[in-house]
Amino acid sequence: MSTDALLQVAGLSVRYETDHGHIDAIQELDLDLIRGECLGIVGESGSGKSALLLAIMGLLASTARARGSIRFRGTELIDLPTRAFNRLRGARLAMIFQDPLSALNPYLRVIDQLSEVARVHLRCARREAERRGLELMASVHINEPDRRARQYPHELSGGMRQRVMIAMALMAEPEIILADEPTTALDATVQAQILSLLHEVRVRSGASLLLVTHDLGVLAQLADRVGVMRAGRLLELASCEQLFYSPTHPYTRELLAAMPKLRVPA
Amino acid sequence: MTRGVWIAAGVLLLTALCSLIVPAMSSYDYFTPHLELVSRPPSWTGGHLLGTDPLGRDLLIRVLWGCRISLLIALVASFMSVLIGVVWGATAGYLGGGADTVMMRIVDVFYSVPFVPFVIVLTVLFGHSLWLMFVAIGAVSWLDIARIVRGETLSLKRREFIDAARVAGAGGARMIFRHIVPNLLGVVIVYATLTVPTVILFEAFMSFLGVGVRVPLASLGTLLADGAADMQAHPHLLLAPACMLTVLVYCFNFLGDGLRDLLDPRRAR
């Protein structure tokens, strides 16, 4: 077990209880997240990849039971009391969701949502919190941050909303950023911009990025290591190059083969 | 949750059956006065389970008759209003545009008619009659259904399978009856079930005010009126119909809620 591991997941199992029996979303998952790295998890729908992020953040539904261990810097996260978890969430552990339109509060202006993070976790006064908010908005390349800050989420484009989410995630200078399909809802050209931004942000802040997606192309660009999930199990975990060029698990090979490759102009 | 629904349905069924069968089996009827048995309290042994009313008539039989009448009115009037409401609402929603606006404005006009004076006027013009109750109540309760059905139709129209059906050649009547109405049924059943208690209460209120069912025919409303008049001395006269009314309304509401839950998740896939 590497001492540089910020996050250590051991034997994680997540089970949802339903009226018709139970669903094992994750089964016996082991995973380490090293400081400063970008770990990508790829899987199709139902693979459990989103459940993994929710389990780490303590956001699983009440019908779900998590067993095993998730340690963040030695602190066990499973069954951590809410108050202690609230201190970690948003501050040490941040999350970026897939659909920024539903993840942002439609009734609050952008700057209010940004400054809320600072006020809660950094205990800033309102003016200071807003100043930091504007600063972050500029750092994620939002044009005219003053004007945009006063707008509501629905007035912004998809790409811009995602930048706001990234800014919110960065506010308290987290050690780990979890990203659940951050570019799936975006157009190709905007996706490329956001991926660039995520890379830039990670390098600048030194945070670790745990990125979950169904698109291998995204991981090829950003990830240091890649894990492949299917039906709740982690089938393969390797360095990015190794996974793409010499995959070991047959499912990984299937996934790679199934992606029709674009013959790109030289 | 589902168990409660079954219980509610069971109670309703049982009540309906009783109201049909028991009066036929009993030696007492609902209208013959027996002045020697005036206002007896309920007793297990005396032969009158719920006692008697001021005219010596068995209260249990009267309450069951009242139940029968109330249920009859409720079901017929609800059926009528659902029929009118669905046709009106689906047509308005499907046609859209000007036709929709006109049709819904008519609904608004009806909504603003004060119900009680309306029924009183009808009663004055046409006299007390069971049929009048059907018409009067039906004429007003279709409004809610119409609005809801119109709303559902509007959102259904926007769904992809309607476009797909159009591309597959469906249009006009075929679209409405093959694709829209079947997808409305879930909502309609739920609201129909919830209309019934409203209608029962309407009728009870009307009869209570004296504009409803004519004596000696008993509906729960008239029984309540009689009971209220004699409340101090003989509370059982009020309690019996009140409990029956409460049970009926509660069960229908419960049934409606349960049906809504039962049908919704599958609808939302």
């Binding site: 199709e44 729908s45 390349h141 484009s157 998809g158 790409g159 811009m160 157009d187 190709a188 050209t189 905007v190 996706q191 490329a192 911009q193 991926l195 660039s196 890379h199 169904h214 698109d215 291998l216 192309g217 090829a220 660009q221 990015c240 190059e241 793409f244 060029y245 299937e254 996934l255 790679l256 083969a257 199934a258 992606m259 029709p260 490759k261 674009l262 013959r263 790109v264 102009p265 | 769904r159 992809e160 399978f161 476009d163 797909a164 059906a165 159009r166 591309v167 597959a168 050649g169 469906a170 249009g171 075929r174 093959r178 694709h179 079947p182 997808n183 049924l185 599958r266 609808r267 896939r269």
Partner: protein, 325 residues
């Protein structure tokens, strides 16, 4: 040899009324679209959100009304058709929808859903032959004939899309418009359905309009490709030509933005190819609509609308197409 194109679109414009800032305004979804499709050909249409590609599909299928322009399908004016003649046309021009599951009536068994177009669009089809045809199509798309009695919710996304394909093909159409048929599917299912479409295209000699934002799929299935941006055509070219020698700056940007499952290639172009955001569709930029994000934009681009012209193997709407390298 049939010379007239199967589908010919000239100067097509479509706009919508929207409420904006308390007033009703017109949103130009498509402007002055020209395209043509020959028999047996597949034309891929690519574009991002706001490009108008779905509007194009819906307009061709007469689900949305056009504001101007002409559409000729095998010589007939498609936009002028009404009632019975429109219905007869539907037997020749069909559509595969984006989300297979939503495109099916949840209260209708899929057998009935498949039979419906036969009943309404091909009434001359013998009634006893319909059942056989339904089973034939189910088998053709890789489903079992017994499944005709099931309801849509009993199928997975991929299977539902197969049903959608079967329904589009059951009336023996000449042209099939595919509106993002792969977008709602998982990666491995996407590959299967793309393969199915390719096989059907070849086996039935279908003419297709393949609309997607997924470039590799377009490359796989199309003979020619058309690129849309904010309601206007940017470039039209043969498939090979467009993907290897794109002439329009937007096409280049689009190709460079596509995520590539190859780390070495992906990291060699770590910087985003273009910045900026899509301008508001209500107030599109003057002149060339792409100029606000184009690295090659000059003054002329804001003043003069670039008309489509031939440059190399492509038809491009760009003043500086020759300089794009």
């Amino acid at each position: 040899m049939i010379d007239t194109p199967l589908l010919e679109v000239r100067n097509l414009s479509v706009s919508f009324s929207v409420r904006h800032a308390g007033r009703t305004a017109r949103l130009p979804a498509l402007r002055e679209i020209d395209l043509s499709l020959s028999r047996g050909e597949t034309l891929g249409i690519v574009g991002e959100s706001g490009s108008g590609k779905s509007t194009l599909a819906r307009t061709l299928l007469r689900l949305t009304e056009a504001a101007g322009g002409t559409v000729r399908f095998d010589g007939t004016d498609l936009l002028a058709l009404k009632g019975r003649s429109l219905r007869r046309m539907r037997a020749r021009l069909q559509m595969i929808f984006q989300d297979g599951g939503s495109a099916l009536d949840p209260r209708q068994r899929i057998g009935a859903a498949l039979e419906e177009p036969l009943q309404t669009l091909r009434p001359e089809w013998p009634a006893d032959g319909r059942d056989r045809r339904v089973r034939e199509l189910l088998a053709r798309v890789g489903l079992e004939p017994q499944q005709a009695d099931r309801y849509p919710h009993e199928f997975s996304g991929g299977q539902a899309q197969r049903i959608g394909i079967a329904r589009a093909l059951i009336v023996e159409p000449e042209l099939v418009v595919c509106d993002e048929p792969l977008s709602s599917l998982d990666v491995s299912i996407k590959a299967q359905i793309a393969g199915l479409l390719l096989e059907l295209k070849r086996g039935l000699g279908l003419s297709m309009l393949f609309i997607a934002h997924d470039l590799p799929a377009v490359q796989l299935l199309s003979d020619r490709v058309l690129v849309l941006y904010l309601g206007r055509v940017m470039e039209t070219a043969g498939c090979e030509a467009l993907f290897t020698r794109p002439r329009h700056p937007y096409t280049r940007a689009l190709l460079q933005s596509a995520p590539v499952p190859d780390p070495r290639v992906a990291r060699s172009r770590a910087v985003a190819p273009i910045g900026g955001e899509l301008p508001s569709a209500l107030f599109p930029p003057s002149g060339c609509v792409f100029r606000t994000r184009c690295p090659y934009a000059v003054e002329r681009c804001a003043i003069e609308l670039p008309l489509p012209r031939t440059v190399g193997d492509s038809v491009v709407a760009c003043h500086r197409a020759e300089d794009v390298s």
